[in-house]
């Protein structure tokens, strides 16, 4: 489970670059300006230049081909400063899908553009508030020219900024992904702002016509495969959130005084913090192991990813809440940063399945 030399380099350079180019101040600025995309295009360009937009894309298409451990390391570092970007939607979810299920033409067209940070594409799977990729109501009817898509999608990440969408739809009970451009007639989107200031959109498809090639190969299996990639990367991001909130809290505990004592010297707080440390360590171990397993292509990768997402989601949520509590009143103010991690953890724990959802899957996969 040791990181390779390249992975360590990637992590260290990402940490330095993100701290310099996307500090929390940038997140606050975007929020204050009510930026429609919710991320800085300059920062995303810098990510592309560093190769991160193409972290999963084969070198032949201009990517780094660094695997999911690499993607997780980047997401974990981005989380530490709340750096917003279409990394998850475009570089992880959609890049994985096109790489595996796209035609040669789609790959040749989209992958270099994604790697270059020029195209933002969003995945539309969920239709219900609670993640459940098994429940797809959107339909793709075959037409002489290709497909006619109908339905609605919610919580589509970066949906307002996207140039195109990868949408899950059903034809006679068979689910597949369809790539449709944002400007397609009949496609409309309503932007929404989440509690961590992430921008999503609700998508409506009203007789959207797509060409025959719009359909990706791989069907429902491909969807599960890319969702697992996204879940693994989200787990890594959740670890970054928890680790950063924890580090800040530890520093606060060592400096804040009450009752003439550093509050970090109170044993009741020490034990809670120690337990939190154990949990955060475990979340990262689980995530790293699951990502390595997914990269290796082993058969039990879906089980491990479900476990890692459940664990990281749970730890992300509880650790950030505990960190806020340990800050006391100041933590409740918007001016202070610690609450921002709580918000981000809640959103990422929810996306692509919350801890309860994955625990249920784990039980089923383990045969009980």
């Amino acid at each position: 489970m040791l990181l390779t030399e390249e992975q360590r380099l990637l992590r260290d350079s990402a940490r330095a670059a993100i701290a310099a180019k996307a500090p929390i101040a940038l997140w606050r600025k975007l929020r204050a300006e009510n930026d429609e995309a919710g991320y800085s295009r300059d920062f995303w360009r810098a990510c592309a230049e560093a190769g991160w937009a193409g972290v999963l894309i084969p070198e032949a298409y201009g990517g780094l081909d660094f695997g999911l451990v690499g993607a997780g390391l980047i997401a974990r570092e981005m989380a530490r400063t709340l750096a917003a970007s279409p990394f998850l939607s475009t570089a992880v979810l959609v890049a994985s899908a096109v790489k595996v299920g796209g035609s040669d033409a789609q790959k040749a067209f989209w992958l270099p553009r994604i790697a270059a940070g020029e195209a933002v594409i969003s995945l539309g799977v969920d239709e219900e508030p609670r993640h459940d990729p098994a429940r797809i109501g959107a339909t793709a009817a075959e037409t002489p020219q290709g497909w006619r898509l109908n339905g609605a999608k919610i919580c589509v990440l970066d949906g307002a900024a996207a140039d195109a969408f990868l949408v899950a739809a059903k034809t006679d009970g068979e689910t597949a992904l369809y790539l449709v451009e944002a400007k397609a007639r009949g496609l409309s989107r309503t932007p929404r702002r989440l509690v961590d200031d992430r921008r999503v959109a609700t998508l409506r498809l009203d007789n959207v016509e797509a060409r025959r090639e719009a359909k990706l190969a791989g069907g429902a299996a491909l969807i599960e495969q890319i969702l697992d990639a996204g879940r693994g990367v989200l787990a890594a991001s959740l670890c970054g959130v928890a680790e950063e909130a924890f580090a800040r809290t530890l520093a606060y505990l060592k400096q804040r005084k009450q009752f003439d004592r550093t509050i970090g010297s109170f044993q009741a707080l020490q034990h809670r913090v120690a337990i939190m440390h154990v949990n955060i360590e475990n979340a990262w171990s689980a995530t790293l192991k699951a990502l390595q397993t997914l990269d290796s292509g082993a058969a039990d990768a879906p089980l491990q990813i479900a476990m890692a997402k459940a664990k990281a989601g749970e730890v992300g949520r509880t650790a950030t809440a505990e960190c806020l509590q340990l800050h006391g009143g100041i933590g409740m103010t918007d001016e202070f940063d610690i609450g921002l991690f709580l918000k981000k953890a809640r959103v990422e724990a929810e996306l692509l399945g919350d801890p309860a959802y994955h625990a249920d899957r784990v039980a089923a996969m383990l045969g009980y």
């Binding site: 609670r130 509690v195 509590q325 103010t333």
Partner: protein, 391 residues
């Protein structure tokens, strides 16, 4: 002589405007009073005036200070009868709930006459200045200073978490009058007119959005000596008295934190939408456990209250209720958010139906901090109820 319930009932029936019998929909329906208060309707103003005229805004206070001089039992009858017709409280204020009891116990005659009557009539709105950025749980470490300048105190410092300071006319606050004494022994209790030169406020935005909280700054504020309540340097006694009062109010009055109805309802709706059971069995298990724990905690509230009424004292048991209610409410909002899924995540920093759940969820995180942190409550339980030794 006990109150005449029949007369009271008739009077309320005749004098409580129909509008004032509607359920309170939000903060805007609450009558806070004060110099700058804008009545939401003529009925709201009339109801206040009529009730104040009979001393019913503060029924247990002496008649001389604007009250009705009722016994607690008679005041309970008044409460009953008001609830019977769903009458709104005519006036809500920190003057009634916090400063009043302190003045009645520690104030001099002149202070009582001057301030209590205005509180009773809703003429002056008060806020409370206790916490400071460096003095939260350890309130007595406060650093706002009041220097003796002969006929007045010169006050400098900063308060935080002063609810509605931007809307209040006066503030009652704690300030250090003897920096050389041990920390609990050099604090005094002062009344300060917010219109004084050098007082300023700044609203606090919470992670959940706008809030009634403010920071309050004192920059060379001159406070007349007559505004000292109780003895010089003995303000901590008053503060302790009021903190007990406040905690009682939070745990006793703020019982909605024990109410699991919202969660039950949301779970039932989700189950119904799925045609039977909640589809996620793990979430369902967590929700069932929260329902059980809420039931048990609410039973303790009921038992403690009845035992206190029957002659015991709530005393340190309020720390049990404060702790438990806060932790339960946080847990409940986590589950409500999980039930709502992506729908619950929408939030734009403003109030409104789309942001409401996330806003409430975020706000609930403060439950275990305000009014004494959960950690302080556990210390109280350990030391005062269980009598575990200090180091």
């Amino acid at each position: 002589m006990a109150i005449d319930r029949r007369e009271l009932r008739e009077w309320l029936e005749a004098n409580c405007p129909a509008e004032m019998r509607q359920p309170i929909r939000g903060d805007e329906d609450i009558c806070w009073g004060g110099r700058h208060f804008v009545f939401q309707s003529p009925a709201q103003k009339l109801w206040l005036e009529r009730m104040a005229a009979r001393g019913f805004t503060v029924p247990t206070w002496p008649k001389d200070y604007g009250g009705a001089g009722l016994t607690p039992e008679d005041a309970a009858v008044l409460g009953d009868e008001m609830r019977r017709i769903h009458a709104r409280p005519p006036l809500t204020s920190f003057g009634i709930s916090m400063l009043g009891p302190a003045l009645l116990k520690f104030g001099n005659e002149e202070q009582k006459r001057r301030h209590l009557t205005r509180i009773a009539r809703g003429e002056i709105r008060w806020c409370q200045g206790y916490s400071e950025p460096g003095a939260g749980s350890d309130l007595a470490s406060l650093r706002t200073r009041a220097e003796d300048r002969g006929d007045h105190f010169l006050v400098n410092g900063q308060k935080i978490w002063t609810s509605y300071a931007d809307k209040a006319d006066w503030i009652f606050c704690l300030a250090r009058t003897d920096p050389t004494a041990k920390k609990h022994d050099g604090i005094s209790f002062l009344l300060i007119d917010m219109a004084s030169k050098g007082v300023s406020t700044k609203p606090i935005v919470l992670i959940s959005g706008k809030s009634p909280f403010c920071e309050t700054f004192f920059d060379n504020v001159e406070v007349p000596k007559e505004n000292l309540v109780g003895k010089l340097n003995r303000g901590w006694d008053i503060a302790k008295y009021l903190l007990t009062h406040e905690r009682g109010a939070i745990s006793g009055g703020g019982l909605n934190v024990f109410d699991n109805e919202a969660l039950d309802k949301a779970a039932r709706a989700a189950a119904k939408a799925a045609g039977g059971r909640l589809p996620d069995p793990v979430l369902r298990a967590d929700i069932a456990r929260a329902a059980i724990d809420s039931y048990a905690a609410a039973a303790t509230v009921q038992r403690y209250m009845q035992e206190a009424t029957a002659g015991g004292e709530l005393g340190a048991r309020s720390a049990v209720l404060k702790y438990d209610g806060a932790e339960l409410n946080k847990r409940r909002y986590e589950l409500l958010m999980s039930l709502a899924g992506a729908e619950g995540l929408t939030f734009d920093g403003n109030f409104g139906p789309e942001s409401e759940l996330a806003q409430r969820w975020l706000r609930s995180k403060g439950n275990s901090i305000e009014g004494g942190t959960s950690e302080i409550m556990l210390d109280i339980v350990a030391k005062r109820i269980l009598e575990l030794p200090s180091e």
